[in-house]
Point group: C2
Chain length 135, copies 2
DNA sequence: AACAACTTTGCAACTCAGTTGCATAAACTT
DNA sequence: AAGTTTATGCAACTGAGTTGCAAAGTTGTT
């Protein structure tokens, strides 16, 4: 079992106390986490620091961001091998009851054929509905 | 050729001057339009009025909103027969160069098979890339 | 150890999209 | 015309995200 510092180092992120704590919290979640969620979890920590921690993590592909349309961006840990390339993209699921967002890591985004005048770069696919926990 | 008032009436929206103007502008676009775009188009009109006009249009399914991840919601006219039901959903394309968003009305959102613990309601699918006009 | 150079953190202030309360104006109803 | 409902205009506010800047912490060098 890998420790937090090794994970941070492997992504070339200097392991500070703050970053270790944030990574720990993120790795305990099974749904994506927003900046506001983090703030609640760390009453004492500063919003800007948490914000920059998330940015650093994202830049170094330790986490990926998810725009689920709720108005607050959420973040989830990337798989160890993830490079946030098109082939790493997956579908996300937003529960409209509890607003939690799940990574459906095993569900690749289906390929679609675009009109010739559009050149595809990336796709964001968010499925909305109800999670069984919320029925 | 149908006139603006008939369109508004058919969606049970009282045709006011403001609404006629907004509908006219929206129907002239071939890409989706944001509130900010509308404001620029109508220097004189009030933001809140334009905002509420869009809300009214959306509630009555004259337009649909598109969350393309740019941070500002965009709107586009619905097809005459549209009821904004799942079968009316289509893929949207965001040009990452010019930030314009296109309705790909003919491209239905592919069905995906979810894990059993998730019940699908709706899907948002935004393809990002470059439109040929912007190369 | 002392120093400089660089990085991270904390605080405050700000932007920008979206939204609301409330008073006035306009449009219907009787 | 008088009363009722609906739409508009203005101002003020919210909440997410972002930035400038100074203080604190790290790292490397003498
Ligand atoms: Mn994910
Ligand atoms: Mn559309
Ligand atoms: Zn739920
Ligand atoms: Zn373009």
């Amino acid at each position: 079992m890998v420790n937090q510092d090794d994970i941070l180092n492997s992504r070339h992120i200097k392991p500070t106390a703050m970053r270790e704590l944030v990574l720990k919290v993120l790795s305990e979640q099974n749904t994506a986490f927003s900046l506001a969620d983090l703030e609640k979890k760390f009453e004492k920590a500063d919003r800007a620091t948490l914000y920059r921690t998330l940015k650093t993590f994202e830049e170094n592909k330790l986490i990926h961001s998810i725009d689920d349309g709720t108005g607050s961006v959420k973040y989830a840990l990337c798989k160890e091998t993830c490079q946030c390339k098109p082939e790493d993209l997956h579908v996300h699921f937003l529960c409209t009851k509890c607003q939690h967002t799940y990574c459906l890591n095993d569900i690749a985004i289906p390929t679609i054929s675009l009109p010739v005048n559009f050149k595809l770069e990336t796709i964001n696919m968010v499925v909305k509905g109800i999670s069984i926990n919320c029925i």
